[in-house]
């Protein structure tokens, strides 16, 4: 019932190397030319932000594009204005908790939905599709009521549980496709050897799905780091907020035109993300090409 797309199967093991000429579709100079143009289009705006972050507002007002200074005090000011020192630990806690819970719950559910047929399975899949397509902002007051019902307003647990629930539909489908791609024979062999279902899952299937787990961890980690509406809605006090919320304080009713300060705040949030993406890019890319799209 849910939509299915049949993909050409990637063969096990490495695909035979293609002759490089067969897959070269443009002269090398042209390829490089285009790559470099695109590279600059991505990096120049970010460099401009980083440069602006180091300028004084007066110099910026005179000329937003030229000029260079080393005004590191912007970072200290931004750090304090956005209250980052109390928000960074929160963001770390949410990110860590959500990653662990999502990976654990979604891999179990993905496995269950991929490999077993049980009453209500179709209804579950359909609910997950609906859950995927609904924008959080349209349901957030109802979510608030549910969280309040459980007495979790203004608690870290409340924020984490909602973030997990909002991430699960994707995560479950993602892990499901991953388990679908693992040959069933391995599990069968283990069962014949007398392994119980839990052993099959933990000892056989989960290790095979490890690249998918890693990618899912990175995805959900990046999303949770950028989480904004959930803590804004579910916390009634300042000490549960996230760095992304801190960023929002640079737009104020009167004033807040200090572009270098805003840029410094952006850099403070963006720099760790870029470092993470460079460090983990292989995970990210592998999982994306191996898992969801296989």
């Amino acid at each position: 019932m849910t939509a299915e797309i049949r993909m050409p199967l990637r063969r096990r093991g490495r695909p035979r190397e293609l002759s490089r000429d067969t897959i070269r579709f443009a002269p090398t100079w042209l390829s490089y030319g285009l790559m470099i143009v695109f590279f600059l289009l991505i990096t120049l705006p970010l460099l401009w932000i980083a440069m602006t972050a180091l300028r004084s507002p007066e110099a910026y007002a005179q000329n937003p594009v030229g000029g260079f200074e080393w005004r590191f005090s912007n970072f200290a000011d931004a750090w304090n204005t956005a209250n980052f020192s109390s928000y960074v630990p929160n963001s770390l806690i949410y990110t860590g908790s959500v990653v662990v819970l999502v990976v654990a719950i979604a891999s179990a559910a993905g496995y269950g939905l991929a490999r077993f047929r049980f009453p209500g399975r179709l209804a579950m899949m359909l609910s997950l599709v609906v859950a995927l397509t609904v924008p959080f902002s349209s349901i957030m007051f109802s979510v608030y009521d549910v969280v309040q019902f459980f007495g979790l307003i203004n608690t870290r647990a409340g924020i984490v549980v909602v973030a997990v629930a909002m991430t699960l539909p994707f995560a479950t489908f993602y892990m499901r496709t991953f388990f679908l791609g693992i040959p069933d024979e391995l599990a069968e062999a283990a069962r014949i050897d007398g392994a119980g279902e839990l052993t099959v899952f933990f000892r056989v299937m989960l290790p095979l799905a490890r690249p998918g787990l890693a990618t899912l961890a990175v995805f959900s980690g990046v999303w949770t780091w950028g989480m904004y509406i959930e803590p804004l809605l579910l916390a009634t006090s300042d000490d549960l907020r996230t760095v992304s919320l801190g960023l929002s304080f640079f737009t104020t009713e009167f004033g807040g035109s200090n572009a270098p300060l805003i840029c410094a705040a952006i850099v403070t949030i963006v720099a760790p993300l870029i470092v993470v993406s460079v460090l983990l890019q292989r995970r990210f890319v592998e999982g994306m090409t191996n898992g969801a799209i296989k």
Partner: protein, 313 residues
């Protein structure tokens, strides 16, 4: 979660992601085991997502303002109202333009992936950099580009002044005709890298013997691309198109950060319009009705393309 970017779209897409085999095969173990595995996820989603969705559907039939103790049942009036509302209709059109921005990303991403396929020296650097916008997420991408497009004192306006490029100098983000195009362009920046990676994954799964055979038959670059690569990549292109459509339909964060649907209503999409109705105008009835329409469109689209792709393959 709120900020769901392109990779966020994979979440949507994964719902209809390909399966390697038929579900029926090899499914003969205790049925209860599967239920046990799936239960924690399903319970959480049911309680914190599905139940609130049902609540939203219920709200769409009332005139609730978001805080009063009273709400009146109005039947399908809200749906009739929004269908007749000019701003809603215009939002649908703008949302299509915005989805168009995603499609440009798909095409660009595919083209770049084809060029990266030979793994030229340094290709990992390119791939990593192209993915950065996706890692930042739409809200931060919006903040970055707002600094650049900021009217009068933004980076691009100043650049336009300095180099005498009237289009940049005139702050297109502030003009009702230009703003939606600026946003769509920013979205292209935000999402192209993601599609490069998806398309690369697809290309790597392509059967090499087909291309070799074509080469032996004397097919040139263009012919190989046109008659071998593109047809074999059709399922992937379909998947990318679907991801793009759902992400475009749900788009919110980037637009909200940059324009809040303004100037006036010039950049309202379905998501931002629903948000404006609910939170700026205390009109949860109409906002919920718009949200319901969005979910219906996305569902219909997912099911339809899913079907069609199954037929195709």
């Amino acid at each position: 979660m709120s900020s769901h970017s392109l990779a966020g779209a994979v979440r949507s897409g994964a719902g209809s992601a390909p399966r390697a085999r038929k579900a029926g095969k090899g499914v003969h173990r205790s049925q209860i085991t599967g239920l046990v595995f799936a239960t924690p996820a399903i319970v959480l989603v049911a309680v914190f997502v599905i139940y609130p969705i049902v609540g939203t559907v219920a709200l769409s039939l009332t005139d609730w303002d978001g805080f009063s103790p009273t709400r009146t049942f109005v039947g399908l009036q809200n749906f009739a109202d929004i269908l007749a509302d000019g701003t809603f209709q215009a939002s649908v059109v703008r949302n299509l333009i915005y989805i168009g921005g995603f499609f440009v990303s798909v095409v660009l991403g595919f083209a770049i992936a084809v060029l990266l396929w030979v793994r030229p020296r340094g290709w990992v650097v390119f791939r990593t950099v192209f993915l950065i916008p996706e890692m930042l997420g739409p809200a931060i991408v919006g903040l970055v580009w707002l600094r650049l497009w900021q009217p009068a004192n933004g980076g691009l306006a100043a650049l336009g002044d300095a180099l005498h490029i009237p289009v940049l100098a005139s702050s297109p983000l502030a003009s009702p005709g230009g703003a939606i195009w600026v946003l769509a362009l920013t979205q292209v920046w935000a999402s192209t890298g993601f599609f490069v990676v998806v398309a690369l994954g697809g290309l790597q799964s392509l059967d090499p013997s087909l291309l070799d055979a074509a080469a032996v038959d004397g097919a040139g670059r263009w012919q190989r691309l046109r008659y071998v690569v593109i047809p074999s990549m059709r399922p992937f292109l379909a998947l990318m198109t679907m991801l793009a459509t759902i992400a475009g339909l749900k788009a919110f964060d980037l637009v909200w950060v940059m324009t809040q649907g303004g100037p006036g209503n010039a950049t309202q999409l379905l998501g931002t319009y629903a948000y404006t109705k609910a939170f700026s105008q205390s009109d949860f009835g109409h906002a919920s009705a718009i949200a319901c329409v969005m979910v219906l469109i996305a569902l219909a689209f997912t099911l339809l393309t899913g079907r069609r792709n199954v037929r195709d393959s």
